[in-house]
Symmetry: C2
Subunit: 215 residues, 2 copies
Amino acid sequence: MTNKGISEAVIKRLPRYYRYLNDLSEQGVERISSAELSKIMKVTASQIRQDLNHFGGFGQQGYGYNVRSLYEEIGKILGLDKAQTMVIVGAGRLGQALANYVRFEKRGFRVIGIFDSNPELIGSTVRQCVIQSSAELPAFLDNHPVDIVTLAIPRKDAPDLARLVADHGVQAIWNFTPVDLNLYLPDNVVVENVHLSESLMKLSCDLQRIREKEA
Amino acid sequence: MTNKGISEAVIKRLPRYYRYLNDLSEQGVERISSAELSKIMKVTASQIRQDLNHFGGFGQQGYGYNVRSLYEEIGKILGLDKAQTMVIVGAGRLGQALANYVRFEKRGFRVIGIFDSNPELIGSTVRQCVIQSSAELPAFLDNHPVDIVTLAIPRKDAPDLARLVADHGVQAIWNFTPVDLNLYLPDNVVVENVHLSESLMKLSCDLQRIREKEA
């Protein structure tokens, strides 16, 4: 099936559905009604029915959803039915944490290269992956099928590196730098941002607000 | 000034404004028009005027915004005008990366404690902070003013730990576990999620979509 017709808003919610369906499946739950799913996910049942309508055939009146089928169908839409290769650029603490994290994710993401420009890091090993020099990155991208590049580098290097990987055919960037990379990239490259400092500021702001409300 | 009247949608955009204003300020830019800001941030000028209207007095017809004042005013709303203390629970690679990251952020966040339950980690030092046993956490929270707790622990431990820190008066949790902690917490505790695996799945999904579009 194609997912062209699914709205961006629904797509954004799919990973959360996928996570809950995975939990249910691991607990041995075979089917679940929108009302039950509504209760555990704290989303209205009508929202759930609307969202999951896009995967027609899995929800039946009086029966509910087949947990496993829905889980697998959403997995396909998320591209998790096939292995995906990833390269991490930036082998500092964050890059190394991500290398380990992704490896454990068991979602089909495979780290096939880690790169850094720091000579002290080059040659050392992160979970069976030898850290290579960033200078080797273009040739590596030309010679390996790389689905996703993760950027965990200083912000000043981010625009140039993003352009470089896009020029070498990469179409997906997982961006941990505080830079809006899409400003530098063609439309056929997708960027997913994890802006840690913005997330922390948002939390700080919410904390101020709740304290003011209580004051 | 109070920020009670500012909508959640505007609040979400503030960290990005803050980041751009910081850059401009560092580049020595003293004032900027909504049109110029619109161009660099790729947001419509009318959206910018609407958003920044909440901080009345900084934008003037034909003059633009005073970069420094606006930066400082937004900083106050984000709670960045005062130092904030943070405790990190989970001293694995991610927790250690965050300890370093936050420390370098220079936004007034100060890590005052790192905790883990792994005996092999307890006692070792992460950037001048000795990793303490998680068993010491409740007493630590009772004896230190802690604004924010960061959770970088296995998911199975997350609900109990979230409840524990909330019971000990913490009102802000920066959550790196794939668990919706707000389901377990009272309304006066704010949670900011960094769901890494969901972010990666979203990227994977966007990549499928762009490839389908091009196929």
